[in-house]
Symmetry: D4
Subunit: 248 residues, 8 copies
């Protein structure tokens, strides 16, 4: 598309319809919308085949709502991560279709429900405490056009719970494994399947878990070959990577 | 027991009492109770000879109570770690036998008081501030069927306090040593006895204690051979390991 | 397949062809070959659709060769990572098809050259010094049945070199980005494509790169959604994940 | 000037106008104002060509106000960093010209608006969440006598937003680049310009960003040669270094 | 025994056989042999029920041999850890019974082969590269009077290898689990047994394994209750703790 | 004194005034007062020539007050560190002489004001924000019987402020230097004097100060020979070490 | 210049001298020379006003020489950092003007000796051991067209050595301060001047210097406003930043 | 002395014997000898009452010898730390009195053997492997004019070895405690004496000792009040601090 745009510009210049100075300026400014405090990149969604996404944390509510309003005119689907109830209320005043997922804080405007993914994304957790991060991944997978399913609380210290769900694992095209503490579950799951496993360390744990560092290192050092890792508590990233893979 | 179960299944198949398909399904699903957000593993208790345990932190109160209710029908003894007063009140509405240990936040349903341990578990602390972690270990040791005793505030900077209690040390079959700051006490205790010492670093300390890291490293590097270590502030883990040893 | 095996066993038991005791024993021993110091798992390759892989580092040459000999009778393709010239010579005496890749130390026995991957895997590096890790990824991608291509030395401090290769990026189904120092290249690449990006931090750098930690953290914190990360210098892991994705 | 002062003293001694003992004492006490809890160094401003600066955090409000009052009699321009609304109110009672910048917490008394800088300082951010730190840099640049401009939300995962602002970059004499997460923006910007780039890591990010450590390490390991780095979230330091350079 | 010694001293004083001054001196000097650079503590062995142990690393060969000579007159069994071939040759000149274990570098003088342990110690490794550390544990367990067995290369990424050895696990009274990389094996093993598990992280791994830190943190954060941990690569410590437990 | 006690016991035994069994017991129990949760060691004060000290943080108010009451009957001087206003009120009800130092949270019962120190202890800070830690050191120095003086806000970025106070430095027998941020002041001070310098890092600083780690490392790596270091924010420790030295 | 190039292209298209397809291709490929393993970017030198630079470490000698040969035809000045004697010999065979600086390992081809810098760059070290890093900065400053001078061994523990060189400091337009251990020198120097200070931590030091981490943190936390920092031992980066500033 | 020098200068100026310009220059240049690569500060020895000291590591042999030659003309005593046999040979050619201490690498020129210390410095080690660091402290204490004694191998895991040497501890005026691994010995020693304890962590240990970090943190977090700490393996620093204290 960028190539076409350049080609069109050049055709116009050759035809004398566009002045050289104007063409120079055009070529230098790719399209995004500038709010001063944010540059909304409507093309990113197109380029990456994804909904618009706003990282809620660290932004002020009026900034988030300002961006949402602009986006909502162009994109049917918008995802705001790490929001809260008050932010949700403000967003919902702007766009009525917004829905709130209280465990993960995700606010989703999910108007176009086309399924783009070719298979099923499975979201697995080691424990009950890992569920909020898992749900961020789940919401992300859904809004990015995937079928997704969950398998919760199958951590490695009771390995038969996982063994008893081998068939559930076997139905997935991509698996997201969410685990805190020692972060061992992705290695075990990855050894049982022949599909990509996205590992998400969580900050769940005591003392020397160091807010997820133990789980992160465990996952990076997985002895299974088909594991790649995203940031601690980054359910969104995992959902996003899994969607990208599932669309192939 | 798992072996017996397989054997029984096979006998039934041979006898024509059980269809092959059903046997396959049975063999694939080991027994646990599935609440969706949690998989209660009644067999873990049997397999490990322990009460049911719920890690309170990171779970929502209704989740904890939901799990407790299911468990309480099967298991006489249940331990919830890292709870608080409000959670305790909810648990107690479900199971009246529940008791609260406010220093450690442990909630214990201790209905079967059989003693399984062969000797005494001694819980030692370096300072007064380490007592909450020590009590989590103590409650754990009790609910897992052990006699347990305490020796508090005998840190190494006043070594005669420890020296004066040599005989107390000598009565224990397993010793749990809880210490923050430099975490030196386990090494000294371990050098004075011929029994296993479980070291628990605590997050007690200033500045470069780094929330228990200094004590943890100190204990891992103990120059005494009979010391092994659990996670920072992990009184539960220490009580659990000590119980396992004491039952041998 | 495991299910079929169980089913067969049960059918044989029902038919009286197999004694219950034998069936119990069979059910307990899944198939792998035991050399004492190693358990060769011929089924892993089948389960994961991959060649046999041996992590060369930390093993003694005679152990590696012993394992290779066993494997070579079953599997056409074997990959030994982190080897060296002397090990290669020993391996080649055992299996003449072995080839050595001196930059990465990979030793590859690549006899079955079927292509399983559906698209092209592109291996990108930030600098010239990152090439050894990139080649480990490349060799892995090839032996796992993929077409793969390289784009080297397009780091972010000369962003036009990357911009000038947009079309190369656009041809890939999966992209592996290998970078040391600040590890910024995966974020930029990921923003330019709509396919999964596997980021590999390398230990290339000075001082506070801390042997790849800086690059690793940079990649984990990527502001692009479609990036997942493998361990420092883990070209093999990246090639493996990319292959898994490319086969979908 | 210190040399002149010594010279004057010596001249007075030679002329017999100053007693040797008094001269000794004078030579030992360089000029600053002593409040006990603080030593106000009016000469620092002169020596460094800067306004008086008070680091607000960690000081008690009455201490800050006490220092401001002394300073305001000598210096037209005073900057208090990391303040808040209540502190601002107290400062404003002391000096009416004080102004509050709520995003960064900066309190500025900017009475002498002479421009000393020779060119323009450009403050760039990777994201919207980095703006508070950027504004601390901006306020600092202004009060130190510079023209300054901003370019916000041009992070590397949407590289065309930066590419589209090449001309803005080209107009600056010094560039401050503020980024959290992976901290990759300074490298890219530095590769596009031929002026000094001051990189400011921010504590914006999740999990393994470790409160800005990832961004800090990324910037220190920049593969671009014209990048130097200040502390995490240290907008003031960046503004100060940039001012120093811009005055040359 | 110490108590008896005090009692004897006091009896002698009462009987007038020992002068008060001499008794004071006796009471102050507990028995060890002083070589200047080392204080050989023959009682430690008695107190802890163990052979004499010398940590080989960091000592000069002549120091080690000097200590061995003294020890060998009193103790039948001596263990030197982290030695090498040249040291072994020197030790063997002093004590012919010395034997060298080249994988772990252990030098063992094992003359009294009494079995003190009540059950079997099982030493499990995740991979082939972990065997040297496992053998240090094994040699230690043997010289401390235990029956011990090994189960090597049953890491979690091929979980069926472990599952196929459930019965081997079931025969042990204490289990030592040695693992590098993500260090996940102890959690899985511990969930399958009801005996104490001693976890030994190894420095085997790449990049972000950080010489065993990843495995160490993983093991400390084990979600299984019956796991305690010793230092990285500390096979000796694990063997020692396991022996202490096995003698109970 | 311990020696005398032993000697007395032995004399009594010889004289037949004390039974051997009783003497054994006496010899085993050195004198401290046991409150269960705390063992008050009245001899430590005597042994170390210091007041009784209670680390306030991590203890519950009733525990602190319980210990204070016991101590106050034996010791004239008691220091409670890291207290607060509510604790002070409770302590003051128990002992009216108690005084509160709100900056540092120290609660001091200072009834015996004998001066034991031979010279003056000087407490120096780099900045105003370091004063709370400095005052903990100051209170400690006073209650341990020293004359002490302060020199605040003479950090290295305005080196003439320090140079102008060379004579103040010259009057001290021991110098405590308290600094956060880069922690450079102790090196400079130590190079200007010939007395011991005790360095106290503080947790004052931004971002990569990592709560005092930067200052701590700076001080440990001081290029001056006469610097030793205590823990971050440990004003008490510095005052204590300085007192010990000043009494020599 | 890039703008001019685009303008020329467009003019040619308008004039019919260039076909649209050719213009598209031209616009997509910015100029660099592609050796496969390296992309030589002759424009970077022009864009940034600097010589060509090759980071020697991590590249193979034939790669370095290959790149040098290509570069030497276009650029008069080339700098290879972190080389050694054997590499130098190979480079010198390719380009006779090459010179070797053995302390820092820099290999410089310095044929165009034009001075571009407006003032003097001063390179200061804390100790003698910091000189190799200082010389890398010095060689860089020279080849980038600056006058540069050195002031060595003026560390803070003998502050009068620095005080005695105030006038040397006063002559510089930019100051590079190189220091290991506690890294305190940049703060002191920066407080004495009104020009930008570039701080270079070195890996010189013992134990807890952690290969320069202590110095790096110290410099990042400098209490002086006019300090910015480059990577540990990165003399090249410091020389490069200083040159950029000095050309303004 | 500096004061006297200023006073003399001023008297000469008043008397007309010294021209003002000359006095200015004199006042600006305090006395040190400048070798270019090193500034020898003969006054430091006087100011701090110590011998000249050269940190051997990181300096080239000819630099060390050059400095030694200059120093040896002014100072009777010179200490070179971290040298080796070849350096020693070169130093001895320059100054025949030089002596080599091979364990620590110290080279001492000890010609003036006056005793300045008032009491005895005791150097204690936890183990045999800590002796090299202890000897650096010992050599330092001797050359700085102290009587010093050693007590080696009294680590905490055999606490009776320490208990049996209480009287040795009681004879010291300052105690240096050298320990690796968990670094617990200083706390125990400090609790037994009423004199200052200087703790020296050593890099002796395995795995998670992290080259002395565990011992360093342990010592910084000592629960004893009279402990201060120097850098890892910094025997020189400990000897220097102890000397400073012992001279008081």
């Amino acid at each position: 598309m960028t190539e076409n745009k350049i080609r069109n510009l050049l055709e116009q210049v050759r035809a004398g319809k566009l002045h050289v100075d104007d063409a120079v300026r055009e070529l230098k400014h790719l399209p995004y919308e500038d709010l001063g405090y944010a540059k909304i990149d409507h093309h990113r969604a197109l380029r990456q085949g994804m909904p618009e996404v706003i990282l809620g944390r660290g932004k002020r509510p009026e900034q988030v709502v300002g961006v949402v309003k602009k986006m909502a005119r162009v994109s049917p689907n918008i995802l705001i991560t790490r929001g809260d109830q008050p932010l949700y209320r403000k967003v919902r005043q702007a766009v009525r279709a917004a829905q709130f997922h209280p465990l993960s804080g995700a606010i989703a405007i999910h108007r176009d429900k086309t399924i783009y993914g070719r298979g099923k994304i499975l979201v697995v957790t080691a424990g009950t405490s890992d569920i909020p991060v898992a749900e961020e991944a789940l919401v992300t997978a859904h809004i990015m056009g995937n079928e997704a399913e969950t398998l919760y609380d199958v951590g490695v210290a009771g390995i038969h719970r996982l063994m008893g769900n081998r068939q559930v694992l076997a139905t997935a095209r991509v698996i997201i494994v969410v685990a805190g503490m020692e972060g061992a579950l992705p290695s075990v799951v990855a050894g049982m399947v022949a599909v990509p496993v996205i590992a998400v360390p969580t900050s769940i744990g005591y003392g020397s878990s160091f807010q997820g560092l133990a789980a992160l290192l465990g996952m990076l050092n997985s002895c299974a070959g088909n594991v790649s890792v995203v940031n601690i508590d980054n359910g969104f990233g995992a959902g996003c990577v899994a969607s990208m893979i599932n669309r192939l």
